[in-house]
Amino acid sequence: MFNRGITRLLEALPRFGELDQARIRRLLSNAYADALDLSESTAGDEDHATELARLALALETHAVLAPSASADTVRACAFVAAEALSLADDLRDEAEPARPGPWIDARRYRRLEAGLLYLIAGYDANAAVVARKVRVLGALPDDMSGTTRYVSARAEDAVAQLRSVLMMRRGGRLAARRPPANAAPAARVRADLWRRLADAARRHTLWLRFADSEADGSARADLDELLEPLLAERASAYGDIALLARLLAMACDETGGRALRSLEDPDGGGHFGAYLEERATERPVMWPATQRYVGECLRGAGWHAAVAVPTGAGKSGVAELAVAHELDRGWALYLAPTNALVAQIQRDLEAALGGYPGFTVQGFLGGPEMTGAAEEVLPRAFDATVLVMTPEKCTLALRQAPEAFERLGLCVVDECHLIGERGTRGVLTELVVAHVLTLAPEARLLLLSALVANPEDLTAWLQTVTGQPAAAIREPWRPTRTLRTVLGFDRERFAPIYGAAEEERASAGRTRQAASAPAALLAGLQGAWQGSEPGDFMLVDTNISVPFEARPGSFYYSSNDALSAAAASLAREGHRVLAFIPRNRHWAFSVGARIDLADLANPLDAEIESQLVLAEYELGVGSKVRELLSRGVAVHTSALLEGERRASELAFVRNTAPLMLATGTMAQGLNLPATAVVIAGTQVGHDPTLTPAEQRERAKLQLLNAVGRAGRPQHATRSLAIVVPERPLIFDAAASPHEALAQVPFLAEEDAAGNVHSRLVTLIDRALRDDERTADMTIEELAAFAVLPLDVPDVDAGEVIGKTFGAWARNASNRESPAVIAGSLEKLGRRFLGERPRWLAEAAYLAGLTVEQTLGLHDGFLAVEAEVDKTEIAEWVDAALRAMSAMRINALAGIIAPETVRSTRCAAIFAPGTPDDTVRDAWQVLREATALWLSGATYDDIAALVAGPEARGRDERHQRAALPRVIRVANDGFGYGLTRAVGGLLALHEVGITASEEHDRWTLTPIEKRTLELAPLAVRRGCGDLSSLGWSRFARLPRRLSHLAAGVMPIPANASDEETAALVANRTELLVTEAIQEDWDITASDAAALRAWKQIVAE
């Protein structure tokens, strides 16, 4: 339940007899398991509550009174006391009405104490969770009068202001209250002390929020002034107020030290100052990782930083602050691994930074393909701008607009562990970072990850290759705790149920008998399953009814069924549940179909409904996501349309659906916080490119990452993770973990962090050896070739290589080695070129393709050029497909992965030894499918083509269904592979016209040039003509609506970007009003889709 951050914190606890960390963790975990309330049994609850109370009392007293306690000891005591108090509160489930009076009733008082103790411990999110349970009585009972009413109202003022402190919200103004004339002196004193406490609390929140006109930072001093006579006079009649004042004073010290306003504004104003003030209204204090970044980089000597923090511990907060700080000096680049994350980061940064004049947040979605679309190319000057993109997209920016990086001030690399990822992505990310360092030698690098165990290596690398100091920030603090459990059956409870089922089976003469039994959870009480004491594990009985099959002498269960049962039960207990089905991305739909939480599901709101309407418009059939959402289940897999994914995310975040079923990888990095995580099985989807050891490591990382998704700092600070093993487990009362650990060994690991290593070292070693063999080049080496500027004028590939993590790891960042490596690689590249013109290497670099792929496109295009109408986008795309069809399979696989077209009528493209005519037919299907895609056909239409006519009208999403396959073709085939190939044609023309000896051959008319420049984007957007593409680009209409708009209000083909933008701006309102209202020549589903789009834009 407790991670390294807590372990470190608890090390500062005082030595109280035999009270040690392990006992405290056992005690708190036990109490949490009790508080989960998963079964009717309350055995042991009272004992735990009593011991918790004693723990809280002892440690709170020590925190408050002990003069020799260090700051760390005070924090540790405060944390444990707060945990114990809040758990004791959870265990007392009976509702207790708040009672007004001159004294705050005990339950509210204890909650305020717990909240303030959390603040003292540095756990503000936890304080906010406690605060939500503190009710403020707005109106006092009518029968309360006179002095009692007066003092009670002041007490409620204090409750309200303390609650605001706990929630870091601005406290409201204190009402003026006059004492009754006959109020006794003690009552007047009591009322005034409440007022002073309330006022100090309010002024602290205002000070934190830069509201200087109302607060001068003297709240802390006022609390001292309040406390001094109370304590000196031993005014025990006011001890209740004194204790809150002491705790508040300590909380003021702690939060003041972490306050955003404690940061100096380097320019005495500017964007950063404005940012701090605005941010402080939402989150006025920094979490530890940010605090350390500030200390070590903004205020310290650190220039670069590598920040390794657990999931949900404020990684993005570090990045946000760093970006805001940088925007007064230049611009910032924010790299995130997926388009979904780019979109989320863009939204978050816009919310945080977008409100200031001059700040711009721009997201670059899409791939690395060469393009001429203006909106895809980096502007030349963009100070005070943060650009968010994937590393793939950044390769394009580095190629197309290298000069833009001169004023780059900061480069954030989110999820930087990707540098070590196998396949193309790791190599690409590393080279992008190295290239950025080359083009922007003054830029700061900020590497972020929850999965890096060796940030010191990363900082040593940055320090070596830039000469600037770098700080490794390893901060294990996390605001949430997770109880790790494994699901199984308690032998004692299971045996009679199994016996009865077996008897029934035998008497009926069947081979199996369906039954169900209540699950038990084996819980590790020490966090990671590393404890060895008998008390480190406990068995938690539950009411989760898990189906199983009794068989002769044995039994069987489906881990997916067990997951369904556990997830549904937890959802019914009020949990927000993320259920991972890592083994197969299609199972989310089939598992979801068996869960019915309709009674918990809220109606879909307008935005979610609109996203689904648009998705269904694209699909041409109903969305299964809608069906699942209506039953309270959201899904998150790669086999979704964007609208479906967004609808699912919104439904889960807004609690329209309390349960989300996700694949192992899809929800990583996204902000989908849950209070419970359930994981079915311990196997993840097979990746044939990995060795067994790598496969195991990948599975471990994915599963630990899934466990790490549990926890919602602002809503529930303690969370539950349940692993459902593939084979059912029977637990004995002794609660031994050994059998469970044999199936789920990853639970013994603290987190998913591992050492990151460069994937470039093999290539570097080969280059240093001057090894010229090309036949055995790995996919990583090929990827490096595609993005390295080899043989490209004005770009020194050696310098880029010399700045890589791999070069540092091989001690090859010195003066000579990079040049040797670059020279060797260039030689390798030239072997592909042979006698062909050198400019093709430059075109390859610009296109982000390998030389071989570019050569294939070059030759293939020239073979069909005469048949191509270059004024038509669709013709350019078809030409690219025809050129690709002549490539070697290995080269082609680097553009479109074979997986993309697996189990479709195009699969023969990649099948070795397939007869030529079969391959030709497969290509023909792909060309026709592409044409459908570009013409705005529905996915259903495309499915009927690529999966066969029997696929028409089918909305299924299971493993063998057609729709998931078509979505894969569209996302990966059209949206990624084909766009790069078409970008390759553009690169050939751009370079060819100046560098080729046959430059006339590459010369295009203006309309042809414009068409080709836009063709890559057109493929991605599915708009095969300039008119629909114009609607897509400038109205941001989805694919099919762009075609619809182009149909009713076409844009002339010769319109420039400016003219198209103006036309679209003028006509958009017409489209969403008159086209709908006046029943232009559109169908009811067209009108519904337009209305949905209008709704989303309005949101």
Binding site: F16, T50, A58, A106, D192, P229, A237
Partner: protein
Amino acid sequence: LTVRLNLESLQTALELVAERIDIQPSGNPASHISLRVTGVETPDVVRALGTYLVGCLAGAVKVDATLAARFLGSSFDVERELRRRVHRRIGADNDWSTETRRDWRDRRRNPWVAEAIAHALLMVAGSAQGSCVAGTIQALKPLHAQVTQQGLDLVGIYEDDEAALWLAVGECKATKSRASQELTNATGFYRELESGARDGDLVADLLMLEAALADEALDEIGEALWEGRRTYLPLVAYEESFDVTGRRPGLARLAAPREHRRVLLVQLSNFHAFFDDVADAARGSVGALIG
């Protein structure tokens, strides 16, 4: 504003209590230690108790006067306020002609006077003949001075013979004829205390002792609480005898060790007369205590 308390009168009263009151074990019940408190009914002790409880009230009035001056910038008539509080706690006279008055006497006045007796006993612990705790009091929460005041009745910190700190918590009852039942009620209070339900009050009370305790003691209190170093001091003032030597299962179930479950038994020969006499003594000592 200054309030002068006649500390000499108070000191004399306490010395008299220490000298005249005797606390001795009574029987050997398995569940607790029974301590019989004698000597409270002698006239000079009654007068001393009257002085002591008014002194406690005067201390509270002085605190309020100091705080009012500091925070409200105002003052009030201290003697009048003291008389008002004395009357609120023990009444203006001993007129028990109505049911309401008798109910107030039994439920409010007498238990508070019993609380004052226990408070005085703790104040003199170590110097009296016999002691309610086995050690020396380091700090003691002032006597409850306001009628409606919440919190624990009696909270003190004392050091035992081995220099370990202990928490002492008193719970006082006064009943003419239902002593056994009231002792059961007091036991219920300690059960509630052990459940943590009163811990907010307890931490607040301990904080208010901060100024009276040495740093070493303040460092040690947390550990003392974790180790369960608590002494429970239920005090019952009563007239009609009950079985004071039998095992009491409720007390036996408490977490504090037997020798730290110390029941103070104050048996009175004339229950009502005793409390009336203390009240009269208190009303008579107001003028002497305020200078």
